[in-house]
């Protein structure tokens, strides 16, 4: 996560003054990152695009009240994480069902095998407690530092480390048992 370019804050201020085009520029600038974040979680382009739309809808509604107390990228990541958490919770059981419908292991198609592993992984992540799930998502999908994770989630750096450690241990247990 890089420091905010002055451009982001300028665009936000222009949008807050009533310039809708500034919001479009903001979307163009951050679309790939947001889409990529959700694509890693969902493994489905359409779902990732829908979730990205949800994020920018929330941003549009709330950006007028943005007070520049935190950086814009932190704010955006927070929205991403909350949206991802909601999606994972909503689709918890659906995800388990997808596992049941996945092709049998042992086929020679390596992409299917990889897809199976990803579904197992996200099924395991969906079973984690919310804090651990959030920390793991941010760490493994965007490779954020513990400091950045603590800024986004509002927990301490130490707590982020502990939650990550517990989450990985738990995931290892889940995936090894399956």
């Amino acid at each position: 996560m890089t420091n905010d370019m002055p451009e982001d804050n300028d665009l936000i201020r222009e949008f807050q003054s009533g310039d809708e085009k500034s919001f479009d520029k903001l979307v163009e600038k951050h679309l790939q990152n947001v889409f990529g974040f959700f694509l890693k979680i969902t493994s489905d382009k359409m779902t990732a695009e829908d979730l990205a739309q949800d994020v920018f809808m929330k941003l549009y509604k709330n950006l007028r009240n943005f007070r520049h107390e935190s950086s814009f990228s932190t704010y955006l990541f927070r929205i991403n994480t909350n949206t991802a958490n909601s999606w994972i919770t909503r689709n918890k059981w659906k995800n388990i069902l997808h596992l049941d419908q996945a092709p049998e292991r042992g086929e020679l198609d390596r992409s299917t095998d990889k897809e199976w592993e990803r579904k197992e992984l996200w099924d395991g992540i969906s079973r984690l407690p919310k804090k651990q799930r959030t920390v793991v998502m941010l760490r493994i999908s965007d490779d954020l530092s513990y400091k950045e994770i603590s800024e986004i989630t509002g927990i301490s750096v130490g707590s982020a480390k502990v939650n990550y450690h517990h989450a990985i241990k738990r995931l290892k247990g889940i995936l090894d048992n399956d």
Binding site: V27, F35, M57
Partner: protein
């Protein structure tokens, strides 16, 4: 543990390109318009409901108790209760009012039973007077 971490980070790797920004923004605008229309519909619906509710409350508040019928003869400070059917308890002041006038009034006010009582007792009174006089 690090191997496991690297393994799951490797699973996250995705090479897919993102959606086209222009079409994404167009879809976003469409969604915003839809939501704005939905909010406007909700607001209109709520305003209409509030208006109907208010009108209903104002209307029902008009259904108050019917005012008691004015006692036309009570302008004068008197102990006489003209709509009391027990005419025998009338005060002496009753005698100063013309019976015919009062009977007519009672008929006009459609107090038929009270009028009949009045006529009956008036005749009784006159007969009593005649009788006493004869004594």
């Amino acid at each position: 543990m690090i191997d496991f971490e690297n393994r799951i980070i490797g699973m996250m790797h995705s090479e897919s390109s993102g959606p086209d920004a222009a079409s994404f923004i167009a879809k976003l605008r469409g969604r915003q318009e839809k939501e704005m229309m939905r909010n406007n519909r909700l607001r209109s619906g709520f305003s209409a409901f509030a208006f109907i509710f208010l009108v209903g409350m104002l209307t029902t508040s008009q259904f108050v108790e019917l005012p008691k019928q004015d006692i036309y003869w009570s302008e004068v400070d008197s102990n006489i209760e003209y709509f009391d059917t027990d005419f025998l308890t009338f005060d002496q002041g009753y005698d100063t009012i013309s019976d015919e006038e009062f009977t007519l009034f009672m008929i006009e006010e459609t107090n038929i039973w009270d009028t009949e009582d009045l006529i009956y007792f008036n005749e009784l009174y006159e007969n009593t007077n005649v009788y006493e006089v004869s004594l």
